[in-house]
């Protein structure tokens, strides 16, 4: 049973075995008739309690964010809420010097993650999938950063980047006053420095997803390709990679969401000061900073929400359409 779950790709997990499609539905309908009143009550509670909790804390608050985005509120007493229409958004788009850089940095974050650690993770997965010895050891080394908290990763990389005690500056001799390279403080450098750390972690994550995808590739495909005289690269390009499509979809969605969620690492590094602004940081600053501009903070959250939905909705529609068919 355990090995079964490890080899299952996410797609495989969401698709029930072929042939069993219509039988359970009929059975389920028949089963409903067997339910007593008490059973129905139990069921209502079983589904109801978790749903209320989830909806209240996640969806009601998301909707509240949207509503508050069109108001000003200092957070003290409900009667100070004032409807201001699009004013928050106007201010955000036109007058906030941090907003557009933040949008840009979120985009850069995504582009870097999809262009560097993702192919690298795929490459490592393909190498480790060759059933070589010590595969587990290598796998663990690449995967270790994923297990550690982002905050801790932030601290570890600060040790590497520190201007006068850090590893990099010590190695290149830039650790004497006057010669400092300030990896974390320099607004032209710090985003890239943070992205190195983020990519470091992302690679291992992508590697694991691709390894799971590769395990699901039918071995006979490889054999057929080898018999046809294809070399390793041709086999990968024409046979293996096309079969990884479901994994690629998941990887794309995961990467976009990671780019939108990016927060911990930057916060530990320099609190999102000059050069590393992100939408998530701007929202948070409105809460933990001194200013309590709830409407304004919500407007930033709504921008983040809209961008996320552009990704989440098509993905869910595709996933659930498949489910409904079965």
């Amino acid at each position: 049973m355990t090995t079964d779950t490890t080899t299952k790709s996410p797609e495989a997990a969401s698709v029930p075995p072929p042939g069993a499609a219509s039988a359970p539905k009929r059975a389920a309908r028949g089963r409903r008739r067997l339910l007593t009143r008490r059973d129905r009550f139990t069921l209502a509670l079983m589904a109801g309690v978790p749903t209320v909790l989830h909806v209240a804390l996640v969806w009601v608050t998301a909707l509240a964010s949207i509503a508050l985005a069109f108001t000003t509120w200092d957070g003290i007493g409900f009667d100070s809420i004032r409807w201001v229409g699009l004013q928050n958004f106007e201010q955000l788009f036109n007058d906030n010097p941090q907003f557009w850089p933040a949008v840009q940095h979120n985009i850069i974050w995504f582009v870097v993650l999809i262009l560097i650690p993702t192919p690298l993770g795929l490459f490592l997965a393909v190498q480790l999938d060759k059933r070589i010895r010590f595969s587990r050891v290598y796998q663990t080394a690449f995967f270790l950063p994923v297990v550690i908290s982002m905050a801790c990763i932030g601290f570890v990389w600060q040790l590497v980047y520190n201007p006068d005690t850090g590893l990099i500056n010590s190695l290149i001799g830039a650790n004497t006053p006057g010669h400092y390279i300030d990896w974390i403080g320099d607004p032209d450098l710090n985003l890239w420095a943070v992205l190195v750390a983020a990519s470091w972690r992302h690679t291992g994550y992508m590697m694991i997803l691709y390894l799971a995808g590769l395990k699901g590739v039918d071995p006979s495909l490889r054999e057929a390709s080898a018999l046809d005289g294809a070399n390793e690269w041709q086999t990968f390009k024409n046979v293996i990679f096309p079969t990884l499509r479901p994994t690629n979809t998941v990887v794309l969605v995961v990467t976009i969401i990671e780019a939108l969620r990016a927060f911990d690492l930057v916060f530990v590094f320099n609190k999102g000061a000059q050069g590393t602004e992100l939408l998530s940081i701007l929202v948070t600053n409105n809460i933990i900073g001194e200013s309590s501009r709830i409407g304004y903070g919500s407007a930033i959250a709504v921008v983040l929400l809209v961008i996320s939905l552009v990704v989440i909705v098509p993905y869910l529609v595709a996933t659930f359409r498949k489910e409904r068919r079965s």
Binding site: T6, A13, A47, L124, F142, F155, L159, A212, F263, L305
Partner: protein, 298 residues
């Protein structure tokens, strides 16, 4: 099911040493070592006394290597206290998440009610949202919710209960999705027979379905404990008293308050990583299978 046997066969017939293989091993070993370099650097720094590194520079041959920084970091910052805080949040949160999401999953996967798919959609989509989308109203909600006598702060804000609730609400979306897929793959005949025999719905869930879900539950439990342990954001915003913070976010405060030298910070950071590393090494298989079972989650 020919894949595993084929693989086992291939492994037994040891292939002759090919230059390409050797090259691959050299490449992988080199990359793996480079990959671990930041962590090894942190360990190396943490093992050295501050005085020595400030005299000789950080890239230098060590004269003394000891665990003083670890013990100092641990004692100076009262880490035990923060580890206990984390435990008080993570244990209930993981158990409650699994309990609640398995009930939803059971409902969605075993019964053909019309709104099932919509319900599952609500849970799954909720989990994909960035946390910052909901934090502003949530923060206000937590401040407004008075719980005199129930939490120390008298509110949902600044309490372990508040963190447990948001972890459960947020993570149950992911778990409900994974578990409902898993339950759907279980044979229908089992529950069918029990229901015809007059078993109650609760029995069907508790005594028949849940035991069959053990592998998926184990995988999710591993994953959840690491995620919740590693949480930084919720605690940062929803806890105001440093004393009440779980270890991961506490470290952020501690590094400014108590730690004066980078070696001590390194030791502190590494100490917070130890529990997740232990869980990972002990339950590697569960962790990885959980991650790939629900690859829709970041």
């Amino acid at each position: 099911m020919s894949a595993p046997t084929l693989a086992a066969g291939a492994r037994k017939r040891r292939a002759p040493v090919r230059p390409a293989r050797v090259l691959l091993h050299v490449f992988l070993a080199g990359t793996a070592l480079a990959w671990l370099a930041p962590l090894l650097w942190a360990v190396f720094s943490a093992l050295r006394p501050y005085g020595e590194t400030s005299d000789k520079g950080y890239v230098s041959w060590p004269d003394t290597l000891n665990l003083d920084n670890f013990t100092n970091a641990f004692e100076q910052s009262d880490m035990t206290h923060y580890f206990v805080n984390t435990l008080l949040i993570a244990v209930p949160a993981v158990l409650l998440t699994l309990f609640l999401s398995s009930m939803v999953a059971f409902y969605v996967s075993r019964f053909d009610f019309r709104l099932n798919l919509a319900l599952l959609l609500v849970f799954t989509a909720g989990n994909l949202l960035p946390q910052q989308v909901i934090i502003t109203p949530l923060y206000r909600l937590y401040l407004l919710t008075d719980l005199p006598g129930i939490t120390e702060s008298g509110k949902l804000y600044d309490s372990a209960l508040g963190l447990v609730l948001i972890h459960v609400a947020f993570q149950s979306g992911f778990c409900a999705f994974v578990l409902s897929n898993y339950m759907r793959s279980l044979p229908d005949e089992l529950t069918e027979a029990a229901l015809v025999d007059g078993a109650s719905v609760w029995r069907l869930y508790w005594q028949i379905t849940l035991p069959l879900c053990k592998p998926a539950m184990a995988a999710l439990a591993t994953l959840l404990s690491i995620w919740i342990y590693n949480d930084f954001f919720w605690a940062l915003v929803l806890i105001s008293t440093g004393e009440n913070m779980p270890i991961t976010s506490a470290l952020n405060n501690l590094s400014g308050q108590y730690f004066t030298d980078p070696n001590l910070v390194a030791a502190g950071a590494l100490l917070t990583a130890i529990p997740t590393l232990v869980v990972y090494f002990a339950l590697q298989r569960q962790f990885v299978s959980g991650l790939t079972l629900g690859a829709n989650k970041s």
